[in-house]
């Protein structure tokens, strides 16, 4: 049996048994917000693109957070990192391992990104489950705006992701133009 056959046959011959469930990541993000460790959060990057359009393989989960006003501007993630230390989560390089998922936390780095987090879409992770946690996603037009305006973000891979969102009819060009004009002023 090949690895692909194994992976298509859930529960049989797994190479590595899963250590968690993705919903646990979402529950923990909600807990961080409820406990005031972060002000708000939204999922960005390739996972957000995957959930708006079609799934792609990606290495990590990008979670963009906003923090309370009193945070140290030189070390804004400190309260969050301390929380994970206290709760004995594993750090793997720049990621924190949550339920088997390497999560990269990024503090919203510009007014555009702060707005993207605040206006994120919130939906049920599993609509068939009444107990499903919610998932907060940066909206497609904001994803494209972030990828096209931030220095270093405009890579061929991100241009392809933007094209996927456009192809799916998910990008609001009027809003995008407005976001660009605001970002430039």
């Amino acid at each position: 049996m090949t690895d692909i056959q194994r992976s298509l046959d859930p529960g049989r011959g797994r190479l590595n048994p899963a250590v968690g469930q993705f919903r646990d990541v979402l529950l923990l993000l909600s807990r961080l917000k409820a406990e005031g460790v972060i002000h708000d959060y939204a999922i960005g990057g390739a996972v957000a693109m995957s959930l708006w359009a079609e799934p792609v393989a990606t290495q990590d989960l990008d979670v963009i957070v906003t923090v309370a006003g009193g945070a140290d501007p030189l070390d804004p993630l400190r309260p969050l990192l301390d929380w994970f230390n206290q709760h004995e989560h594993a750090f793997v390089g720049e990621h924190i391992l949550i339920a088997g998922v390497p999560v990269q936390f990024l503090v919203a780095w510009s007014p555009l990104v702060v707005e993207a987090v605040a206006s994120a879409a919130e939906t049920a992770y599993d609509p068939s489950d009444p107990q499903s946690p919610t998932i907060r996603l940066i909206r497609p037009t904001y994803l494209v705006a972030m990828w096209q305006t931030d220095q270093g973000a405009d890579t061929p891979r991100r241009r392809e992701r933007a094209a996927r969102l456009r192809e799916a009819g998910l990008v609001d060009d009027t809003l995008l133009t407005e976001l660009f004009s605001r970002t430039k002023t």
Partner: protein, 60 residues
């Protein structure tokens, strides 16, 4: 309804994929990670560059 052309059929399939609920998309994403990691073994055996990919230890 049967698509008029192969490309129309593909477009319909992609549209259906986009409509899947988040949990199902995460399941597919993890599946794609596993396939990418397996493909790396083949790439390596052929002396080709590999793609950095470690499947998540989680279930959707």
């Amino acid at each position: 309804m049967k698509p008029a052309t192969p490309f129309e059929g593909k477009a319909q399939w992609h549209a259906q994929q986009r409509q899947l609920p988040p949990r199902e998309k995460i399941r597919i994403l993890i599946e794609l990670q596993r396939r990418e990691a397996e493909s790396n073994g083949i790439r390596k055996s052929l002396g080709r560059p590999t793609v950095s990919m470690k499947p998540w230890d989680t279930e959707a």
